[in-house]
């Protein structure tokens, strides 16, 4: 279910009341000592610390390291996931070659692979990027493959009577037909991708957001931990709305159907 929205796209004021009340209660509990700082810092402290971390350069530096991991892992995963889906989707031979191993990989719990990855790739950047890449690749593969196979066979007949060449068939019918499902996969990928980043950054990170949070834990700096979590939140929301924007632009042809 989507929250009720006004025509201008903003949630109505009523929906903002309870979150604001919660934050106020949280602040109050901290001020009167009900909520000790070692457990959870006050909202005001979180805000101040956030500002300090930005100004001192700690947060931007950590963010840059984490973003680099995301970009690397995401790009590798997207290329692999979509590429393999094309191979499997466009031919029976490709399907027999590619699909079974991927279905097996899918059955393996992603985060259960971490010990192996540490043995194989050490504790530097590689295991983190690989974990992220696999997390991103799987949903993209599954959805793109299903999308390609789900393209209406009747449109394939149209392509045949219009004498489209195979490359044209793929470009004009198969890929655009698979795009809606691919975008669903992209959304799932980003969800898993952020999760994989957070988990991967707990592996002996010497830099990045995860490192910042781990460091803060040792010094009982709950304010820094909350700032780190908020940054993860914002990043997740940002990429989600990016995908939504992409969907709106790429799937305009559906608008006639929806509106």
């Amino acid at each position: 279910m989507r929250p009720v929205r006004h025509a201008d796209g903003r949630p109505p004021i009523k929906r903002l009341l309870s979150p604001l009340a919660l934050i106020a209660a949280w602040q109050l509990a901290s001020v009167i000592g009900l909520l000790p700082e070692q457990l959870l810092a006050a909202p005001s402290a979180v805000a101040a610390t956030g500002w300090d971390l930005v100004v001192s350069g700690t947060l931007p530096e950590a963010l840059a390291v984490s973003l680099q991991r995301v970009v690397l892992g995401f790009t590798a995963g997207a290329v692999a996931g979509i590429g393999l889906a094309l191979v499997a989707g466009l031919s029976k031979i490709g399907e027999h070659a590619v699909d079974p191993p991927i279905q097996m990989l899918r059955a393996v719990p992603l985060f259960g692979l971490i010990p192996l990855f540490i043995l194989w790739f050490g504790i530097e950047e590689t295991p983190k990027v690989v974990l992220l890449a696999i997390g991103v690749a799987l949903p993209l593969y599954i959805n793109t493959f299903a999308g390609i196979r789900g393209v209406d066979a009747k449109l394939g007949e149209v392509a045949a009577v219009l004498k489209l060449r195979r490359a044209e068939l793929i470009r004009h019918i198969v890929l655009p037909g698979a795009l809606p499902q691919l975008l669903v996969g992209l959304r799932q990928s980003l969800g898993i991708g952020w999760l994989a980043l957070i988990v991967a950054e707990q592996i002996n990170a010497s830099a990045g957001l995860g490192h910042m949070i781990n460091d803060a834990r040792e010094f009982l700096r709950t304010d820094v931990i909350v700032v780190g979590l908020l940054v993860y939140c914002v990043l997740g929301l940002l990429t989600d709305s990016l995908v939504r924007l992409l969907e709106r632009r790429a799937l305009t042809w559906r608008r006639g159907l929806l509106s």
């Binding site: 009747k154 449109l155 007949e157 149209v158 392509a159 045949a160 009577v161 219009l162 004498k163 489209l164 044209e168 004009h172 019918i173 655009p176 037909g177 795009l179 305009t252 042809w253 559906r254 608008r255 006639g256 159907l257």
Partner: protein, 241 residues
Amino acid sequence: MAARTAELTEHVAEVRGLARELGGRQVLAGVDLAIRRGEFVALLGRSGSGKSTLLRAMAGLDNDVEGKIEISGTAAIAFQEPRLIPWKRVLANIGLGLRGDVPLERARAALAEVGLDERADDWPLTLSGGEAQRVSLARALVREPALLLLDEPFSALDALTRISVHNLVLDLWVRHRPGVLLVTHDVDEALLLADRVLVLDDGRIVHETVVDLDRPRDRLDLTAPRASILDRLGVISEEPA
């Protein structure tokens, strides 16, 4: 095995002994038919009698038919549902796969011929059923086929639009002179448009009426052939023959 060769004969399409089994049922059991260059043939038959199956085979979409199909030149088909590519704008749908000079201009001209030039940049999902069928017609025509296969292209049209699209198809036929095989349920429609009306039943062509009348035709002149065809279709005609 169906043989598809493109040799020049006086026929644009020749079908002999065409048989097709579907779901354990012999849907086509030896269909023979021939269409001359520029001839307008209508094909009648009950729902489920295999009309679409026959057209699909003639369009080269069915590799599991037995018998002989010879098409000289290109065949184009307008399917029973318009089957426009939803993510291609109207004009791009018509121009898709079009080779040769200025494909987009030819597509635009075809769109103008079916009276929809102002919808060139719209998405297919915004078209009405009848508009979509006209676009599908334009997409078949723009290929200037020697044989035009039309699978109930008027089924989604209201009675009024139907008349204007009848005239449109006749117009286009006169201008481009393809051989036409028009599938329809409507006996009157067949008699108004075609040079020859065939009836498909039990997997065979069981009846043929030659309509040797000038166009445009008057419905009143069609009473006699209508009665005999309805009789063939197993319908008791309420009008005197």
